[in-house]
């Protein structure tokens, strides 16, 4: 094994900088005490390195290890999760700093650091993260070079690392595209693996959707084959709620899977949805979807359900009709659509019963309710006042300000109280076309809730009470509809055109990145390879192509790396000329003879030219083996060789 000499201070600083690049994105996610300990250990190590002091004793580190283990356990209640695993890695990394006696320990640290770079991708795989980690890999690799060539300049080592990585990129691309992909996970993931994703939830209570509306995150992207429908028709259907307990709406009984039964009119819309992970099973589609994606089913209330929770970005082709009439008259559905909590909200019940008594037809009741929302001074706001026990009464007769969930909830309550089967539908309403790549972007801020009422002869019909109270919401989006003081994501409201353009460009780039890089799934791989003319891309074929591809690339690289020098250098040329001159006179330089020996022999053989020959030898040896690179000496050497006559 190689010896383990001390670490130079400059290499220590470089190593710390490259580790910092890897750990930095983790710090906001780590407990504060761990950040503090890591910072303290780093400063301690710099202090020891600068003053060339001995590293602390082992027992102190053991103390830290156990302290840290307990700390991580008490913070996360486990040490085997994803987050706690990262915390432990950071802890060990910073402790290893104080046990780093020589380059061998440093290499261990760099390998750990490579691994920690990967863990960043658990949390974010965006372009900025990728860029930062690329920089981190470059600096860590330069650190490896530092310890393998400790006498070289740092800048030269960084250049070497850059060259290595640049030459690795073609091979990496082959591996990336051809390595047979397996759909993970290979085994159960820790429970916290998918925490922290935003999206609609499987219940609806006041304030839930308005909170979601403040998120700028992208829910899904849509690529229409032809012109997209106008904005007021962009209702993206999500979870449907039947059961109301006075405050919260829930799906109610498990909806059996059904078939897509409806009568469509007008031209269908064909499009492709790229859905961001939201950790639930449902898939979104424009109302109403006329086909079911693979590995999914549809419920009787027209909700598309994937077999597994959407934990990775998924892509599916869809076809929808915006003009449709449902034909579903299952009696049990109608009964569930009349459920109301026992007691509470007496004024709303009374109002609905009055309508039912005075108005003749079902549609007249619906229209009366919508008029009520339009004319009674309702305010559409993201910050409604808190509601008490009789939330519907308080909203309808008291505060009269709320977000879409308040409108949908109270509207359905009124309909049910008036004897009309009704249900709440959540999803998204709207979407912006990105002019850069023509993808429609639907954000969490487009989250919406509306109502469906069963009308005899027409089936389930969509009514949007929010649109009655605030038509702008449906026509122009939430930013235009709510008061200017409401907290919205900055970007949703900005009127700065350049900022908007910048954002569109960035979104388009991020979308490309998602589609091409992050969305490279086993299916995509098959499609991609088939489009390249690979018949039947089985894993054997891929592995074989991969093998030959990598081998071919490496062979090319070898040929290029080991290319011979084109012209020998001037010093060597002069020397060879000198050797040739003596060789013609009958004293050639034998192959094993070093320059010094040859000159001595030649000087002895030609005493008249001995001084000149020795001068040639001295200059040649100085130029070739010495450190200096002297142009004048080279000129002298050439003149001496030229004028040599033996």
């Amino acid at each position: 094994m190689a010896s383990n000499p001390a670490i130079q201070f400059r290499h220590l600083l470089w190593l710390l900088a490259s580790l910092a690049l890897v750990v930095a994105p983790h710090t906001p996610r780590l407990p504060w005490w761990l950040n503090l300990i890591a910072l303290m250990l780093i400063i301690w190590r710099i202090y020891l390195g600068w003053n060339e002091l001995a590293l602390p004793r082992k027992w102190l580190l053991v103390f830290f290890v156990f302290g840290g283990l307990f700390g991580v356990y008490f913070t996360y209640r486990t040490i085997f999760g994803r987050d706690s695993g990262v915390a432990l890695l950071v802890l060990f990394l910073s402790l290893k700093l104080l046990e780093m006696h020589g380059p061998r320990d440093a290499v261990v640290l760099i390998l750990l650091s490579y691994f920690l770079a990967l863990t960043n991708f658990f949390y974010s795989q965006t372009i900025p993260t990728a860029g930062l980690m690329l920089a981190a890999v470059l600096f860590n690799t330069a650190s490896l070079v530092n310890f393998a060539a400790s006498a070289r300049a740092l800048r030269a080592n960084l250049a070497t690392a850059a060259v290595l990585l640049a030459q690795a990129v073609p091979v990496m691309l082959i591996l990336f595209f051809l390595f047979p992909r397996v759909q993970g996970p290979l085994w159960g993931l820790p429970q916290d693996a998918y925490s922290g994703v935003t999206g609609l939830s499987d219940s609806m209570s006041p304030g839930l959707i308005s909170r979601l509306s403040q998120s700028d995150a992208i829910a899904f992207r849509v690529k229409f084959e032809k012109t997209p429908p106008p904005r007021p028709q962009l209702y993206w259907r999500g979870p449907v709620f039947w059961r109301f307990d006075g405050r919260t709406w829930r799906p109610g009984d498990i909806r059996p899977f059904g078939q897509l039964k409806f009568e469509a009119s007008g031209a269908p819309y064909d499009y492709e949805v790229t859905l961001e992970p939201h950790n639930h099973n449902w898939l979104f589609a424009l109302e109403l979807a006329s086909k079911v994606p693979p590995n999914a089913n549809v419920t009787r209330d027209y909700l598309l359900i994937a077999r597994a929770a959407v934990r990775n970005r998924v892509r599916y082709d869809m076809r929808s009709y915006t003009n449709f009439t449902t034909r579903d008259d299952d009696a049990s559905d109608l009964k569930a659509g009349l459920q109301l909590p026992r007691g509470g909200n007496p004024r709303a019940r009374q109002l609905a019963q009055d309508w039912a008594a005075s108005l003749g037809t079902d549609s007249a009741i619906v229209q009366r309710a919508l008029t009520y929302f339009r004319d009674e001074g309702f305010v559409y706001t993201l910050e409604p006042p808190l509601l008490g026990r009789d939330s519907v009464d308080e909203f309808l007769f008291g505060s009269r300000s709320g977000f879409c969930e308040h409108y949908a909830s109270s509207f359905v309550f009124l309909m049910r109280a008036a004897g009309l089967p009704a249900r709440v539908v959540t999803g998204y309403q709207g979407g912006d076309i990105n002019p850069v790549d023509q993808y429609m972007i639907v954000r969490q801020s487009d989250a919406h809730a509306w109502a469906e009422v069963w009308l005899n002869g027409r089936g389930w019909v969509r009514f949007d009470p929010t649109a009655a109270a605030s038509p702008v919401r449906v026509e122009a989006g939430v930013a235009a509809a709510v008061p200017a003081t409401d907290p919205l994501p900055l970007m949703a409201r900005t009127s700065l055109i350049w900022l908007r353009e910048l954002r569109y460009n960035w979104d388009a780039l991020a979308n490309k990145w998602n589609q091409l890089v992050l969305g490279y799934s086993p299916e995509r791989q098959r499609e991609f390879l088939t489009s390249f003319g690979m018949n039947e891309p089985s894993w054997e074929n891929m592995a074989l192509t991969l093998f030959w591809g990598v081998l071919g690339l490496l062979a090319l690289l070898t040929a290029w790396l080991l290319r011979r020098m084109r012209a020998s250098d001037p010093v060597q040329r002069a020397w060879l000329r000198f050797c040739a001159k003596l060789g013609r006179k009958g004293s050639p330089r034998s192959p094993h003879e070093g320059p010094a020996d040859f000159v001595t022999r030649a000087a002895a053989r030609y005493p008249l030219q001995a001084a000149r020959i020795r001068a040639i030898g001295e200059r040649y040896i100085a130029l070739r083996y010495g450190e200096l690179n002297d142009a004048r000496m080279l000129a002298e050497l050439r003149v001496l060789v030229r004028e040599l006559r033996v």
Binding site: P103, Y114, L118, A151, L164, A168, G594, Y625
Partner: protein, 321 residues
């Protein structure tokens, strides 16, 4: 048949890896591709393990960027194989000078390392007897490396097998080659440290004893050297506090001193005799005496000077070998 088999064996990497060059190679040694070997170091194996874990993690969590990172590092490792290999291959190593040494000293074998390629060679190390000598060679330049070897006994010392290796650029791989340059270092016997003086001159133009008697002309004074006869010390100068000085007589330069194997005590062993004679040669040369050397089977007539001293030492070094 046997010869063919032998030829195939010697050309194969496998054979060379295990047995290396057995005989010294005369002339410049060219590190051709066939004789440069490469394997991962222990950190290199750890790197492979880390990559495997990273790959499994990427599959399990469906991390596209995880795949990219893992594949980038794996490709970097593959590219590094080529870089490490080319850092060593195609070097020319020429034997250089070797200065004779006395037994017990360190002999330095000088090698010229020539880089005829268009790229710099970094962090090449020459290991011999557990000691590593680092060396960097810029593109189209040469460098000299001096490889130390402890000379244990007199005679010819060959460096034997030298390992040339490098871990550049990332330290996860080691390329190496064995060389055995055709060099030898003459090792003189170690001069003994007995305090016995030189033997008395015999024969020649006059006996030393006679010279000591005062018949020769006083030639001057010089600083005292160990072994000088107490009778020649200039005691008056000592009394004046001028330090020890020895009187030199003109006749001494002409006196002939025979350093004779046979005049040493009969009980002495061969190496002890050679050590004694070596010291006497050095001392006689230092004192500017004319001395001759008589060994079994070899007689060097009395003479002075550098060439004579070297000839005597060479005979002593190679006696009986």
């Amino acid at each position: 048949m046997n010869a063919i088999l032998q030829g195939i064996l010697q050309r194969s990497q496998f054979y060379n890896a295990f047995f290396g060059p057995r005989v010294p190679e005369p002339g410049p040694i060219y590190l051709q591709q066939r004789r440069v070997y490469i394997l991962p170091t222990r950190p290199g194996l750890a790197f492979c393990l880390a990559l495997l874990v990273m790959l499994v993690g990427s599959i399990n969590y469906n991390l596209s960027l995880g795949y990219i990172l893992t594949f980038l590092l794996a490709s970097m490792g593959m590219v590094a194989i080529l870089h490490t290999f080319r850092n060593l291959v195609h070097l020319h190593i020429l034997p250089g000078r070797v200065e004779p040494v006395f037994a017990g000293e360190v002999a330095w074998f000088e090698l010229f390392v020539e880089n005829h390629s268009a790229y710099d060679r970094c962090s090449i190390s020459f290991s011999h007897q557990g000691r590593a000598t680092p060396c960097d060679v810029a593109s189209a330049r040469g460098a000299t490396v001096s490889i130390p070897a402890t000379a244990l006994k007199r005679g010819w010392l060959a460096p034997g097998r030298i390992t040339v290796d490098t871990r550049f650029p990332i330290g996860l791989l080691r390329a190496w080659s064995y060389i055995q340059p055709d060099m030898r270092c003459l090792v003189y016997p170690k001069p003994d440290d007995a305090l016995l003086p030189l033997p008395e001159p015999t024969g020649g133009t006059g006996a030393r004893r006679a010279a000591a008697g005062g018949s020769d002309d006083f030639a001057g004074l010089r600083a005292y050297q160990s072994g000088d006869s107490p009778r020649h010390i200039h005691w008056k100068a000592v009394a004046r506090g001028q330090g020890l000085q020895t009187k030199v007589f003109g006749g001494q330069a002409n006196a002939e001193l025979w350093l004779d194997w046979n005049l040493l005590p009969a009980g002495m062993g061969v190496e002890e005799r050679l050590s004694r004679l070596t010291r006497w040669v050095l001392q006689a040369d230092r004192e500017g005496l004319r001395y001759g050397l008589r060994l079994p089977g070899v007689v060097l007539q009395p003479d002075t000077g550098e060439a004579h001293r070297l000839a005597c030492l060479r005979e002593l070094a190679l006696h009986g070998l």
